[in-house]
Amino acid sequence: MDLLPFLKRLCEAPGLSGHEAPVRALIQESWAPLADEVSIDQLGNLRALKRGAGPPGASRKTIMLACHMDAIGLMVTQVQQGFLRVTRVGGIDVRVLPGQPVTVHASRSRIDLPGMVVQPPKALLPEGQGDGVVALEHLLVDVGLEADQVREQVRVGDLVSFAAEAVELGGDLLAGHSLDNRASVAGVTIALEALQGRPHTWDVVAVATAQEEVTLGGARTSAFGLRPDIAVVIDVTWGAGSGLPEHKTFKVGEGVTIGWGPNIHPALHHALAEAARQNEIPFKLEPIAQHSGTDAFAIQVAGRGIPSVVLFIPLKNMHTAVEVVSLNDVRRAGRLLAEFIAGLGDEFLRDLKWD
């Protein structure tokens, strides 16, 4: 798999929380040849099972690799004189919206309409909104069509995706929207590829989860359904940049991070860190005092509880249309997962104690 074009396709594909079908189809297409079974569950999670090579008849242990595939975006709340008013799907700083190109997934016509978010002129805004940050309720989406054309095609509840094309920056950096968390999906794909030539005894279930950005619902239900023995969540973390707290951010291109805190099983953290050390994959410990803000928060307490750890890929400008990741970091995440899985033996769970 050629990572750059693959990741570009992945991040440009629509797939807002709860409506992941377009990106899921892409992921399914690339995971199917790498797995023994692929299925989609009730909430729309995509699950790819790659069986381990344990002795015949023996019950094998299972590791879940969870990476959410849903993206943040907008939803139509009102159609007004050919313009659309919108609300958020997921967490978005309203300040990055004016002038953003978007795709309106028009449900009446089933056509994807190119459009953009616009900030109305000062004279059309309420008193006091003209010079400051314009609230989302006063922004509009313009699709450049006549009012009746818009009414015939769009209805309230239609989804609006970011549409900025991905851009290659210097070094091995890629900028675009939805790299949170398609970069991790690419990382898991790399791991599945690497495992094609690597013997492993554990079953691996890669799950592209749904609805992470709004409810963590996909992780919660898929973890319950699969009851894995352990879970590794792959997500993005805050890349370092000017004006950001140094202790909470990590330089893009200098390796992955492994979460540490109440949401992370400490022994699983140590085991993953050890695999990174053994394979000379650069990583940092990422302290997380409470909620990891990832699928691990749901998976950890699914069923009777599942030992979970989070592997992070640093990403700049999170939840904007110009998120930035390093391709090398994505490859590192994929390689670390494969090495870790290949190293899992029968005794692994026995030593997995919360201490």
């Binding site: 004016p98 900030q119 006063h138 069509l145 920056l169 900028a175």
Partner: protein, 361 residues
């Protein structure tokens, strides 16, 4: 239209911030070569082209000199410094609402080096912070360089840049950056490439409009025309108001035809020329609208005050969201602008200018 569309794409996607119009100048020169009697680039970088009008020799003395101006430059930024972390510190060139920069891809320098203007993750700020406008001087352009040295190998201090936006069509409209005023440039190119007009055409592709109408001033001096027309793109503020009341301050409206100026923030346009444009449009059945008088200005302001004064008019195509990453223009409005200007030039006469000081319609 196919070739115009392609030309418009090329022009829209070229980076030519005020004072650095080379990329557009190059395209313009290539497009008008062989379509004018004289072409020159003047001391400030304007492209000045003269095309003799049609008519018999004895009538030639009566032919008017008509200047038509469209500006090549666009708003953007200049690289003022490079930080130790390889990010670029920039300052605005021309007027851009600071709220438009955050979270946008940009092109920097002659080679259009791609960059992004990043934003703080929403997770790492409190509500109060998200209520504050981020000023341009607090923003950094990230070209993916991790050090000062790497950045310097791709970008120089003084380089210009602007929004990185690809040109597209959306149903009846087109969308792209810098349609203000690449659209006017294409109109002017069309006038030069078309059949000779009834006037001698003095075409000025001007520089530095966005930083003070500076190119137009010297072009008007050099041409010393009998009358002048500024072609630009005018703000269309025809959006619904947030209070649900009828929007009566729309300035111009998309789809309502070419916009004729009567007065703006710096110019009281020549009433005879305004009347000539209106009569021409009505006689030829060309949809037009009168731009609501108010602030703003075009090259017409500088041209009007050149030498001992020059009768000016301004005809613009309405465009939403000018000076942002994407402007939106109705294609039919633009075609009507081209028709109106061509028709008005072909019917321009000394008589239509004579009423210059008679304030009646």
């Amino acid at each position: 239209m196919g070739s115009d569309f392609e030309l418009l794409r090329q022009l829209s996607e070229a980076v030519a911030v005020s004072g650095d119009e080379g990329a557009v100048r190059k395209i313009v020169l290539a497009e008008i070569e062989g379509h004018a009697d004289e072409i020159q680039v003047d001391a400030v970088g304007n492209v000045l082209a003269r095309k003799t009008g049609r008519g018999r020799r004895r009538a030639r003395t009566a032919r008017l000199k008509a200047m038509v101006a469209a500006h090549m430059d666009e708003v953007g930024f200049m690289v003022m410094g490079i930080g130790g972390d390889g990010t670029l510190i920039v300052e605005a060139v021309g007027s851009v609402d600071e709220r438009q920069w955050l979270g946008k891809p940009v092109w920097v320098g002659a080679n259009k080096t791609p960059g992004v203007i990043g934003a703080k993750p929403v997770h790492l700020m409190d509500a109060a912070e998200s209520e504050k406008v981020v000023k341009l001087d607090a923003l950094r352009v990230d070209i993916g360089a991790s050090s000062l040295e790497t950045a310097k190998s791709q970008v120089k201090i003084g380089d210009r840049g602007t929004f990185a936006s690809s040109f597209t069509s959306l149903g009846p409209t087109i969308r792209g950056k810098a349609l203000d005023d690449r659209l006017g440039c294409v109109t002017l190119i069309e006038l030069l490439r078309g059949e000779p007009l009834a006037v001698d055409l003095y075409a000025a592709f001007t520089v530095q409009e966005e930083v003070g109408l500076r190119g137009a001033q010297v072009a008007a001096y050099a041409f010393d025309p009998d009358a002048a027309f500024a072609l630009d793109v005018v703000p269309a503020n025809d959006l619904p108001g947030s209070d649900g009341e009828e929007n009566v301050t729309y300035n111009t409206r998309l789809g309502a035809g070419a916009a004729i100026y009567v007065a703006d923030g710096r110019t009281l346009h020549s009433r005879p020329l305004v009347n000539h444009l209106i009569k021409t449009a009505e006689a030829a059945g060309i949809p037009y609208q009168l731009r609501q008088p108010g602030g703003g200005s075009t090259d017409a302001a500088a041209i009007q005050l050149a030498r001992e004064g020059i009768p000016v008019a301004a005809v613009s195509t309405p465009g939403r969201y000018l000076h942002t990453a994407f402007a939106l223009v109705n294609l039919e409005d633009w075609r009507n602008t081209v028709r109106l200007v061509r028709e008005a030039l072909n019917t321009l006469s000394l008589a239509s200018l004579k009423m210059h000081f008679e304030n009646r319609r």
